[in-house]
């Protein structure tokens, strides 16, 4: 699985069908790249921006869950 797919899997747990467009939006707006080009070094930043976005739209608890989920991808080989 690519990093994009891993991130989508984490986001889909909380956002369902909105995960893909949300990831696309965060990558383009804050990382200035396409989700398909995500690298391990982007994970920390991505986690931060996903948390910020979800906290605004949904809530702190869900945002924190997503942040932890994305950061856990760093440990994945």
């Amino acid at each position: 699985m690519t990093i994009e797919q891993d991130c989508l899997a984490v986001l889909a747990q909380e956002l369902g069908p909105a995960a893909k467009s949300f990831l696309l939006r965060q990558c383009r707006s804050h990382l200035n790249k396409e989700p398909a080009t995500l690298e391990k070094s982007d994970i920390e930043n991505l986690a931060k921006w996903c948390q910020a976005g979800i906290q605004m739209a949904i809530g702190a608890q869900v945002a924190e869950n997503v942040r932890k989920g994305i950061l856990a991808l760093k440990q994945k080989p």
Partner: protein, 280 residues
């Protein structure tokens, strides 16, 4: 635990109680049938002991008639008594094989019959048909009649004891059967009450555990369907609803769906006002 497993376990609990009650009542019924057979056998023993006792008395009566010169009627009665006693003796020797105490008592009576009673009857017959003078004959016959009456009397006493023992056994069997019947009644009432109480309890608890969360979810779904996505109540409800079954999965899916709505709404508004800068 899944709803189906919960319902199955509840059902098994009630079925288990029914099986336990049924097994207990069946066991009691079987014991009552055994006791009924015991009572029947004891009554049969009692009847045969009575027949044997009657036979002994008839031998005594027939011998008296024989000695009183009514030889043909005396012989007929003695033969008839033997016909009564023989089947009774055979039955009693078989039936009392499992009861050593009663068998020993009955063997005493049989021994009295074979030795003292038959011996006295034979002696009386021999004396009666001998060529002695009448005075000597009647003195000898009277002596043998006295022996016969003593033997028959002893036999009567022993057989009366056998009969009273069998009647006591019948009474004990009836009391025990009554106890089993009472126990069956109590078991039936207790289990019926227990099963009813548990059924009602399970129906109420299971019903509220299944319908309660569904009702909460239905309320949330209703508000969401009316466009109320800004409220956080569904998150709170999600914490409240923790059943560990399919309802939990449904709540998770519903929560995800609402999150998707909220996120889609936020993304569509994003062009006008970036998400991360919106006031919370």
């Amino acid at each position: 635990m899944k709803i189906r497993r919960k319902l199955l376990l509840s059902y098994l609990l009630i079925v288990g109680l029914f099986v336990a009650a049924g097994a207990t009542i069946t066991y009691n019924t079987m014991k009552m049938a055994d006791l009924q057979n015991t009572a029947k056998t004891q009554l049969e023993i009692n009847n045969n002991a009575y027949a044997y006792q009657q036979g002994l008395d008839q031998i005594q009566f027939g011998t008296l008639m024989y000695a009183s010169n009514d030889t043909s009627e005396g012989q007929r009665i003695i033969v008839a008594s033997a016909e009564i006693m023989q089947p009774s003796e055979t039955y009693l020797l078989n039936a009392l094989a499992n009861d050593p105490a009663l068998l020993a008592e009955f063997n005493q009576v049989v021994s009295l019959d074979r030795n003292e009673v038959n011996g006295a009857v034979s002696q009386i017959y021999n004396i009666y048909t001998s060529s002695e003078n009448d005075t000597v004959k009647y003195v000898d016959i009277w002596g043998q009649l006295s022996n016969l009456m003593n033997a028959v009397n002893q036999g009567d006493i022993i057989l009366a004891d056998v009969r009273s023992t069998t009647l006591a056994n019948v009474n004990n069997a009836n009391v025990a059967a009554q106890n089993y019947a009472n126990m069956s009644l109590i078991v039936a009432i207790v289990f019926l009450a227990l099963i009813s109480a548990i059924s009602v309890f399970l129906a109420v608890v299971m019903g509220s555990r299944i319908t309660g969360p569904l009702k909460k979810l239905a309320d949330i779904a209703h508000k969401v369907s009316l466009g109320d996505l800004n409220q956080r109540f569904y998150l709170k409800q999600n914490i409240d609803i923790k059943t560990g079954d399919e309802i939990d999965e449904l709540v998770d899916s519903f929560r995800r769906m609402v999150n998707a709505f909220r996120m889609t709404q936020a993304l569509s508004n994003d062009a006008e006002e970036p998400m991360e800068t919106k006031p919370q």
